[in-house]
């Protein structure tokens, strides 16, 4: 797994095999057509967000007089800023929890021997068999009973620890030599210190990978936040956008403004960190 990550990271050149020139040109043409298909929706989104209301029902590609007025409208008259904060908090809180607890559990399963270890590990893995869709009804009833509706904890609690992450971290900790840990033990360091100061730093790439994967997942999560939030002020960005768009009816210029506002910041982050993000997703995605 580690080798895959390095390959991706260093963008290893394709295996040098004799390629007929024509085929190569074809490859570039095909890839470019595909790339246009990937990007056009975003251009349309941004172009529409700069149109005026009266231009929406006209057959035209670009706004006649591009305006940023829609952005002002959406940012001042809706709760987009609040939804940003909510999404950021929810994604950050669950990511921190996942980064810590998934590592801790993975570490224990990789490096400790204790009764019932197999049972516990299987219990955690078995949870992967159950789709979250099956759990939203019980979670909702539980969250209601515990008055967690419309709270940050209510939004994040189902994702505070992930089985995938535990599994991945266990694999990573296998790569940490026992001798290092034993040496620390001889030095009198306690087990928690060994975990945080010796073992954890050695698996940082894996921690970063699951963190990125989780942050993305929570930032874009929809079904559960939709169910557990009821008030506008507690909604996350996707839920807010969905409601906003549903209510904006046919104000497509405003809907596209909302869509732009909810995607572009993350896209900028992605462009700056694309290497780490793609690598992180690939690494987590390859967990099997």
């Amino acid at each position: 797994m580690a080798t895959i990550a390095t390959d991706l990271a260093h963008n290893a050149p394709a295996p040098a095999r004799p390629c007929p020139k024509m085929a190569n040109v074809m490859a570039y043409i095909l890839l470019s057509i595909g790339a246009i298909g990937m990007l056009v929706p975003f251009f349309w989104m941004i172009a529409t967000s700069m149109k005026t209301a009266s231009e929406i029902l006209k057959p035209q590609f670009f706004p006649a007089n591009p305006t940023l007025e829609n952005y002002q409208t959406v940012l001042t008259r809706t709760l987009f800023p609040t939804w940003y904060v909510n999404s950021l908090l929810a994604a950050a809180a669950s990511t921190i929890s996942v980064a810590f607890f998934d590592s801790l559990a993975g570490y224990v399963f990789a490096k400790f021997n204790f009764p019932l270890k197999r049972v516990f590990f299987l219990l955690i893995l078995a949870s992967l068999m159950v789709p979250t869709e099956m759990l939203v009804i019980p979670w909702f009833i539980m969250a209601t009973g515990a008055k967690l509706q419309d709270t940050l904890l209510g939004i994040v609690f189902p994702g505070l620890i992930t089985a995938t992450g535990v599994f991945m971290m266990r694999q990573s900790f296998y790569g940490v030599p026992d001798e290092l840990l034993d040496a620390a033990r001889i030095d009198g360091m306690n087990e928690f210190g060994i975990f945080t100061r010796i073992a954890w730093p050695l698996v940082k790439p894996a921690v970063a990978a699951i963190s990125i994967f989780n942050f993305l997942g929570n930032w874009n999560a929809f079904l559960w936040p939709l169910i557990v939030t009821s008030k506008r002020v507690t909604m996350t960005l996707p839920v807010g956008l969905s409601f906003f768009s549903g209510e904006a009816g046919s104000d497509w210029h405003l809907i596209m403004t909302g869509a732009t506002l909810s995607t572009v910041p993350l896209l900028i982050v992605f462009l700056f960190m694309q290497k780490q993000i793609i690598q992180g997703v690939a690494l987590t995605g390859m967990k099997s």
Binding site: I4, N11, V40, M45, K117, P131, M134, P138, L241, G246
Partner: protein, 299 residues
């Protein structure tokens, strides 16, 4: 206390919170969901009486009714899987092979193909809804440029499901490409060299080296995409008018039915029964698919 006992205690202490989490947030709710499926569960009511298998009987009765939304939901969900998964895999593999064959601009292409994957599905759905608009949507403007008749896409009873599938495929493509690329780059170069020495054609190499060695990746992605299609919800609720999975239930999915019945009509017992059925369907399909695909590519 022996060193070993101390370490066991540490292990339990470390695991206390994670285990409690999986027990209370994952395991207990799973059982609870079976429990709910056996009740007439109206969250407004104080009493939620057990009704035996009545909810399941109703689910299966509805599946038997050819126009019932629940029946359509299961039909559509299978259609999404059967149309979406192969297209997704073939496209992603094709693009991954192309990307693997070029030397320049590879990073840029990879980033571009990956962009939709990091975008929220809600935003993507609304953007595509605008693209699909009859008359003034981007796609119909483009068709108009080529003198082609405009299409109704999401509003047409036959085009709606493929239109929704296209959005999901578009968004998930980047992920599948990245996984395929990783799989391709893990194939040792020596295999290719040996084949070339033997004078194998590019097709032979693809057929007899790339595909077999990529088999675990293909199976993995097929299972993953299938499950993703079986759980489809966000795209449909945001792409269809009033989130109703229309027109005429032609795009509705099982999870959308769960949401509407459980959280719209206060029919949580029925909704829970639907999730239980979905759970078994997912399990069954996953097992069958893993067996089937693995056998097919055995060498």
């Amino acid at each position: 206390m022996s060193l070993n006992t101390r370490r066991v205690i540490w292990a339990y202490a470390f695991l206390l919170i994670p285990l409690a989490f999986f027990l209370f947030i994952r395991f207990a709710p799973t059982l609870f969901s079976f429990d709910v499926s056996l009740r007439a569960f109206n969250p407004l009511a104080e009493v939620k009486p057990y009704v035996g298998l009545e909810n399941f009987a109703k689910v299966f009765k509805d599946i038997g009714d050819p126009t019932h939304p629940t029946r359509k939901a299961f039909e559509n969900t299978f259609k999404y899987v059967l149309i979406g998964t192969p297209i997704q895999l073939v496209l992603a593999l094709g693009i991954a092979l192309l990307l693997n064959s070029i030397t320049r601009f590879r990073t840029i292409f990879r980033v571009i193909y990956f962009i939709p994957f990091v975008t929220s599905a809600v935003a993507v759905a609304w953007v595509w809804r605008a693209l699909y608009m009859p008359d003034f949507g981007f796609l119909n403007l483009v068709l108009g440029l080529f003198g082609l008749p405009s299409q109704r896409f999401l509003l047409d009873i036959n085009q709606s499901l493929p239109s929704v599938t296209a959005v999901v495929v578009w968004q998930g493509l980047g992920f599948a490409i990245i996984i395929f690329l990783a799989g391709l780059q893990a194939i040792p170069e020596t295999f290719y060299e040996a084949a070339r020495v033997d004078g194998a054609s590019r097709w032979d190499i693809f057929r007899h080296i790339t595909v077999p060695l990529l088999n675990p990746t293909i199976v993995y992605l097929a299972v993953l995409q299938t499950i993703a299609f079986l759980r489809m919800f966000t795209e449909v609720i945001n792409l269809t008018r009033q989130g109703d999975g229309g027109p005429l239930n032609s795009t509705t999915t099982v999870v959308l039915r769960v949401y509407r019945e459980g959280f719209g009509s206060q029919n949580m017992g029925y909704a829970a029964a639907l999730t239980v059925v979905l759970f078994f369907v997912i399990m069954l399909i996953t097992l069958v698919q893993m067996k089937f695909l693995q056998r097919r590519f055995e060498y």
